[in-house]
Symmetry: C2
Subunit: 233 residues, 2 copies
Amino acid sequence: MYQQVVTGKVSGISQPPASAVPAVARSGQLDALVALEQIGTRHSFSRDEEIYAEGDASECWYQVVSGAVRICKWMADGRRHIAEFCFAGDCFGLPASGTRSATAEAVGDVVVMRYPQRAADRLIDETPRLAREMYDRTLRELTQTQTHTLVLSRMTAAERLASFLLELSERRDTPRAVDLPMSRYDIADYLGLTMETVCRTFSAFKRDGIIALPTPQRVELPGRDALETMCEA
Amino acid sequence: MYQQVVTGKVSGISQPPASAVPAVARSGQLDALVALEQIGTRHSFSRDEEIYAEGDASECWYQVVSGAVRICKWMADGRRHIAEFCFAGDCFGLPASGTRSATAEAVGDVVVMRYPQRAADRLIDETPRLAREMYDRTLRELTQTQTHTLVLSRMTAAERLASFLLELSERRDTPRAVDLPMSRYDIADYLGLTMETVCRTFSAFKRDGIIALPTPQRVELPGRDALETMCEA
DNA sequence: CGCCAGTTTGACCAAGATCAACGCAAGTGG
DNA sequence: CCACTTGCGTTGATCTTGGTCAAACTGGCG
């Protein structure tokens, strides 16, 4: 059912651009990370292109340089769920087993670094600080995913959308407004709702003056406090 | 709101019993794990006792020896979500940050090993194979949690319960029947349903001959195939 | 025997899904 | 340059699943 599809305009081996460095430098482990970056290759994907598919062999993992990636799963009858959106600096496709447990797709145009599994593993095994960094990242992501299960299992549509807007606002460090690179459909599949409910809830927030929508992809947050109150866990 | 509560009949430092060893021996890293076990202490908790609370400082992590533990989160108005059930061999409370992001409670009577953070960290840092083992465990758990987000966001009540029964049956390696140490309420809060819906769905499965319920806590699975068909992802 | 906690069942209700139409802006081609 | 298409996004009407409220059942235990 899932076949490997060769995708992306591969631009060959190269150093990552300056914009990729901050996420990495933050950890203060430059020596190890320079080594890591030397084994990585830079790749571009365009809107809706598949980066890897559920069921593929996991031979490498990725870090987003620019753009956004969605990690999704399908059910046999076509129902889709988006487990996660990844933005600049986020890693994805770390292999829990030999096979991909989900599909990764470009939300818009995207640039990623790709690290071959074997070489990265070797580097990780001989660099305790890198091992620790990867471990900590994964633990943080686990915590985040567990928080998302609370959203999905117990929050109303309004609370889910509020928590989504705040999550994006915090992750991208833009407290007054949020840009939505993904479609209403993507948001719905991330929040366990339908596109229509997402729209209606956006409209309700707008009516109540909690948000403004200059364009469908730009959300201003005059009523940030209201959103925060709404989804106090 | 969440205060540290001293809980559990602490039985003092001791070696783990034989029943704790298999989970650990499986990884084939006996040297490192023996060292790990030497820094652990054994503790017992009784039904519904709190092991740690959301907001506590994370100073240690745990591994279940026997019994079951639930990891849960509350919303301000009392809505509860169970992120995870842990059984013999499972680790919990690995610290993604300095503070607990969820509460851990004993489902029934439970025995756990507790590992102080500092000592375990030191051991992990100087034992690459142990570091790798912890990292791999965490990645597997992340994958499992992401699968759970699919269940919560896109599956019907029947599909959720089917996936739950199969998950337990596989984790505990009992293909023909499942024991439920937790209440209907716990199951509901894990599956994002109400207790009543869980009951009704059990009853529907029973009516259809998919399961038998000799007692409310024991489920026999004559119709395992039907359950599998039901939640084909 | 009666109580209690957990479970089951029933009647009714509501949040969100479904189905359908409409709006709107960005192409596209004549 | 303007009709036409196309792909999202928005809104409305209706329906369904699962939630809510309430009562009855069951097994263990003082």
